[in-house]
Amino acid sequence: MSRGDRWLAWGSGLALAIVLFATSALFGVTLFEGVPRLDLAFFVEAPDASMVGGGIAPALVGTALVTLLMTVAGVPVGVATGIWLAEYAPRAGRFGPRLAVLVRAAVANLAGVPSIVFGLFGLGFFVLFVGRGLDHALAEGAPVWGRPGLLWASLTLAVLTLPVVIVTTEEAIRAVPDSLREAALGVGATRLDTVFRVVLPRAAPGIWTGVVLAIGRGAGEVAPILFTGAANYLPELPNDPRDMFMHLGYHVYALSTQSPDVDASRPTLFATVLVLLALAFLLNLVASVLRSRARRMA
């Protein structure tokens, strides 16, 4: 190794070391400061009025609900789009490939739209346009649909996570060997049968990877739900999709910027951040396990 080689190795290694150090510092400090505050009560109790004592149960439930609704609303659309891009677009005559180019461009751009713009969109479209429109149509006196709530926040997040699902689904389906399709079609299966009984089962681990990644992304986003449904302090659980809800990420934001007593809220904050980080870590782990299984199958 020449002197120049060593310089290159050390220089680039230093850059990487800084990145890795910052990552481990973030995880390490959170773990160190957050763990002492964790006990069972933290997970099952509601926060008290100062938000310093008590637990984070409503925020946990709210996050779970909004993510669940988001998945139910977004994944079918995303998977269908991925199926169409990989299976139907190339065979849909002259029109298909051209539309596919447009769809891919839209997906790439959707992935780059800032999350706060999704928040504006959720407010402008779901809450004010759809919600107020429903109120008008159903002749509700006070706004029932036309105000921020769980449903609108979920749908906003569903649009936000659409690109993740679409891209991974398309990739997973493309990785399925053509010989399988030909065999199915050869024995007389229709195209739809081939897709649903042969291609999709084989592509399933890859598609699930996308779903898990989308859940991870959606569960951590705060900006899109600021104006579409997240509540600052709401100890009761939502029992209607139009209710507002507490959310882990929003709770972290609210506690760290609006807390009356910063020092007192510090342990609670670190513990909440730890839960959020653990969630991100676990989902990431599940996604990579699924991905390696998908690679082995392909």
Binding site: L16, F121, L192, Y253
Partner: protein, 336 residues
């Protein structure tokens, strides 16, 4: 090729139609975002009564002699009489923070990618890539909190800064979000550089580092440019980190140790408290529309570069030349 006709049940066709319908959802979503964000800002542009106490639409960009000030200034101070809605300080704040972010994130991201693709052994690479992926999965509100609670105090003490929260610490926080983008795309670009180029350079007697700096990096330049453009788009659009770490004072000027307020943080902090339909509300949506257009353009630019690069690589792959002949041509190209 049509063999005996397979009969497709009508409901198979129906489901296929439905799938095709769903597939247009992404296009519809992008259009709807543009339309419904812009819709709330639209009255500003057509309504003569809009922004009258400001002096019309142009006042959003023009310095003005506000009561109580000595000279015409750009001021964003929407609460007060009169509400001062000049967006220039926000644009300056955004550019200041994103500029600083890129100054941190490009060396780290590109350097890290060089180490991964040129220096690191395979096993190390797998582990490090997993760690970078994990970093990319950290929610931005967590990074914002980390900067606010841990980093800002340390940086203030270390550099003896007047303000604890400022553009510089916000940029460090944003780098957490931008580095994974730059690093992964750059690494992909470096790894798709044709091996022939590298081998030719080494065979001509160039050292590894000379090859990396003189052949691999230039050959990967379009990909690296795309990485930078997409990272920039991410930095401009990131909300929670800057909202929590930048101090949020709409200061004019480019001092990195002073506070700054970005477009995204302004929307996030103020929209919850304004009257729907007021001028202030509409200006916030206008800022959102501006962000949408800017990130759209950056994305198209980055995508165009990547697509062109990929097409070039594919063209080289399918060239019907034998391995040895290909290597010889590549060598000749480098030598000439």
């Amino acid at each position: 090729m049509k063999l005996g006709r397979v009969r497709t049940p009508w409901w198979h066709r129906a489901i296929e139609r439905l799938i095709a319908l769903f597939a247009s959802s992404a296009i519809l979503a992008v259009i709807a975002i543009g339309v419904f964000v812009f819709r709330q800002a639209w009255p500003l542009l057509i309504d003569d009564d809009a922004l009258t106490d400001q002096g019309g639409l142009a006042s959003l960009f023009r310095p003005r002699l506000w009561p109580g000030y000595d000279e015409p200034l750009h001021v964003w101070q929407p609460v007060g009489f009169p509400g001062k809605l000049d967006v220039i300080p926000l644009v300056v704040g955004t550019l200041k923070i994103t500029g600083l972010t890129m100054a941190i994130a490009i060396p780290l991201g590109v350097g890290g990618a060089v180490f991964l693709s040129e220096v690191a052994p395979r096993r190390v690479r797998e582990w490090v890539k997993a760690a970078v992926e994990l970093l990319a999965a950290v929610p931005s509100v967590v990074v914002g909190f980390f900067v606010l609670a841990i980093l800002a105090g340390g940086v203030q003490r270390a550099f003896d800064l007047t303000y604890r929260l400022n553009a510089f610490v916000a940029a460090i926080g944003l780098a957490f979000a931008v580095v994974p983008v730059v690093l992964t795309i750059t690494e992909d670009a470096l790894r798709t550089v044709p091996r022939e180029l590298v081998e030719a350079s080494l065979a001509l007697g160039a050292r590894r580092w000379q090859t990396t700096l003189g052949v691999t990096l230039p050959a990967a330049m379009p990909g690296i440019a795309a990485a930078v453009v997409l990272g920039f788009g991410r930095a401009i659009g990131e909300t929670m980190i800057v909202l929590m770490a930048s101090g949020n004072a709409p200061v004019m000027g480019l001092d990195p140790t002073s506070s700054a307020r970005t477009l995204t943080a302004t929307i996030a902090a103020e929209l919850g408290e304004v009257t729907p339909g007021s001028d202030h509300w509409r200006v916030l949506f206008l800022l959102g529309a501006l962000l949408f257009v800017v990130t759209f353009a950056l994305n198209e630019l980055g995508r165009w570069v990547v697509l062109r690069l990929r097409r070039k690589l594919r063209a080289e792959e399918v060239a019907p030349v034998s391995g040895r002949a290909r290597r010889a041509t590549a060598t000749a190209e480098v030598a000439s």
